[in-house]
Each structure stands twice: as C-alpha cells, then as structure tokens.
C-alpha cells in the first residue's frame, strides 16, 4: 500500500543546527502514529515540512505520492503548535472560514464537536483562554476529511476531561485510508490509542514500531521506555 506520508533522507538545517538529519519515515494508511522525542528533536520541523510550511534542505517528501504544494494542502489537515486563528473572529466566523478554505470540511461535524465541548458560537477567539482556543482549533482540524492529519501537540494545554473527548474524537474520525501523526509529550495518556510510535532523537529516527510490539519486546510501556532512553 502506498504510504500516506513518506520522507526519505530528509534533512533540515537552521544555521548550523541540524533539526532533521537524513530522516526516513513512512506512514501507512489507517494508522494513528505518535511522534515522540525530547524538546528540540525535530518533531515540529517534520510536521511543518509535511504541512508545506517549511522546505527541506535535502531529501524527498511525498504526501499521497505528491510533493508538498497546493494539492497536498488540500488533503493535509494541520494543527499548529500555537494559536493560528484570527483573534478578532468568533467561533462562528472561523467555522465559515474553514468551510470556505477546505472542500473536505464538514461544517455539521464541527458544530457538533464545538457543542459537545460547550464552546460558544459567538465568543471571540481573542477572549478565550489558551486551552479553549486549542479546543476550537482542534475541532476545526478534525472536522476535515483529510488523508493526513498532522497534529502538533494537540493535547498540551487542554484539561484531562477534554483530552479524553479529543482522543476519542480522533479515534472516531480517522478512516482507514487516512493517517494521523501527532506529536506529544503526554505519552502515558495516549499510548493505548496509538497504533505506532515514531521516536526522534536529534533529528534522527530512533525507533518506529507498533506500540504492542514495543511493549512486548521491552516489557515496559512506551512511557517507561521513553524515560529510560532519555534519562537526564
């Protein structure tokens, strides 16, 4: 099966810093993959390259067989690691904006999710707390019927109750021909719902394996494994 997201010998430099260093990674359709790694290991860079926001210095990137560009942006749903919605808009406005921008956006689904999370239609983005802004942004991103979801820290500032709702939303919404890649540090919260984990260390792929295989082989949870590998 053709991978949804495939990078080959991918490198990206910020001056002398190697953010990604000859990285090879392929995501199969139907998989929910956790992108793990310590701070500065290249997670956000990898996600931004997939979203078409950064260009690689070396190597190749294919999304559904295409190089990043307008055509891939139509099939990639990207959640940035910071707030990127216009602060003067209300929830209702941003729903309309997404529906104008993305052909695969399901307005009804977005409204349902916003309602479930008790988010008001008329509140301005700028007047929301950080966690609430993140929830709105995630509702929008998950309401698209994309081929590839790139979620950068979707759970960071969100309370535990909403976290559970968001995880089950991700589980319910991804389909067999789409893949989800999401970066997070909350490993113990999410490892049960993942198919696979990809762990980065200093821009290189340390490991890409199924969660159950890793648990079986190492006799510990992914969380414990991570702490052992990256002990400070």
């Amino acid at each position: 099966m053709q991978p949804v997201y495939e990078v080959h010998k991918l490198s990206k430099y910020y001056g002398r810093i190697r953010a990604l260093d000859h990285l090879d990674l392929a995501l199969a359709p139907g998989k929910l993959v956790g992108l793990l790694g310590p701070n500065g290991s290249g997670k956000t860079t990898l996600i931004k390259i997939g979203a078409g926001l950064l260009t690689p210095d070396q190597g190749s990137v294919l999304i559904g067989g295409m190089a990043p560009g307008p055509a891939t942006k139509a099939i990639v749903s990207y959640l940035p690691d910071r707030m990127a919605l216009p602060t003067e808009m209300t929830t209702k406005d941003v729903v309309s904006m997404y529906s104008d921008f993305f052909a695969d956006f399901d307005r009804v689904k977005a409204q349902e999710m916003l309602r479930d999370l008790h988010l008001s239609d008329s509140q301005r983005i700028g007047s929301m707390s950080k966690g609430t802004q993140e929830k709105v942004q995630l509702c929008l991103v998950m309401s698209r019927a994309a081929k590839l979801y790139l979620l950068d820290e979707p759970l960071g500032g969100v309370d535990p109750a909403a976290r559970e709702y968001i995880l089950s939303t991700i589980l319910r919404n991804y389909s067999e021909d789409s893949a989800v890649l999401f970066s997070t540090h909350l490993i113990s919260d999410i490892e049960k719902v993942l198919d696979e984990v990809a762990i980065l260390r200093q821009g290189k792929l340390l490991l890409h394996d199924s969660v159950d295989h890793l648990r079986q082989e190492k006799g510990m949870s992914v969380d414990e494994f991570f702490k052992e590998v990256f002990r400070c």
């Binding site: 049960k192 993942l194 969660v211 295989h213």
Partner: protein, 129 residues
C-alpha cells in the same frame, strides 16, 4: 464493561484476557451479540485496530463467531467455557500462592488460613458496569 489496561504488557493481550473474562463470567453469554469494534474500542479507550486484533484472536479460537452482516456473537460452548474458567482459576491461585510465599507463608500455613476464611455466600452479586 470495565476495562483496565495497565502499563508494561501489550494492549491486545490485555484486551483478550478481559474479553475472555467477560465471556466466562456471563457478561456476554453464549449466543449474545457483542458490540461493534469501534464501540468496544471507544469504550476501552484503545485503538480500533488493536481491538480488532483481539477479537480476531478470540474468533480464531472459536470463542466468537463473525456473522456476515451483523457483527460478532459469542459462540463458545459449555466445554470451552469450562476450560477457560479452570484456566483462569489456576492463574488466580498461582498468583495468590506467589504472594503468600512473598509474605513468608508456608503451604501449610496458607492452607490453614484458607480453611478459616469464609467464602462469599451471595453468588449473584452483580457488578455494576
């Protein structure tokens, strides 16, 4: 049903164990239909692919049977249920004895304690799910 996935062991192994237990204890009695994969996965908070893998394992051992259009039903017969119950009991006993051993009890002392202990009399205490 009550799911409890712990760290350290593969998730699908734990799902298999807990589904087996639900079948043995009659939570899913023979002939009954079990919920759909996605529903079970959401309930347990696990990935649907992992749940699917666990269900397929039970299916391959004849405990569940796939109905072409209407999901899965519990197809375990009384013999299989009996075997499973015995296996499970042996696991519990071995586990109990290991812990008693850790506490420094001998076999005799343990048996003596067991003789004195009272077995729960109300057998149909239904657990809330």
């Amino acid at each position: 049903m009550n799911w409890n996935i712990t760290a350290g062991r593969p998730v699908y192994v734990q799902l298999i164990e807990q589904l087996e237990l639900a079948i043995v204890t009659g939570e899913y009695p023979p002939g009954s239909r079990i919920p759909a994969v996605r529903e079970l996965a959401a309930e347990a908070g696990v990935n649907p692919n992992t749940m699917q893998r666990a269900l397929q394992d039970l299916e391959s051992r004849g405990l569940l049977q796939s109905q072409r259009t209407s999901g899965r039903i519990v197809s375990a017969n009384q013999d299989t249920l009996h075997t499973l119950r015995v296996q499970r009991a042996e696991v519990y006993v071995a586990d109990f004895l290991r812990q008693m051993h850790k506490l420094g009890y001998t076999q005799e002392e343990t048996l003596e304690l067991l003789q004195k202990a009272t077995f729960p009399t109300v057998s149909n205490t239904k657990e809330e799910s």
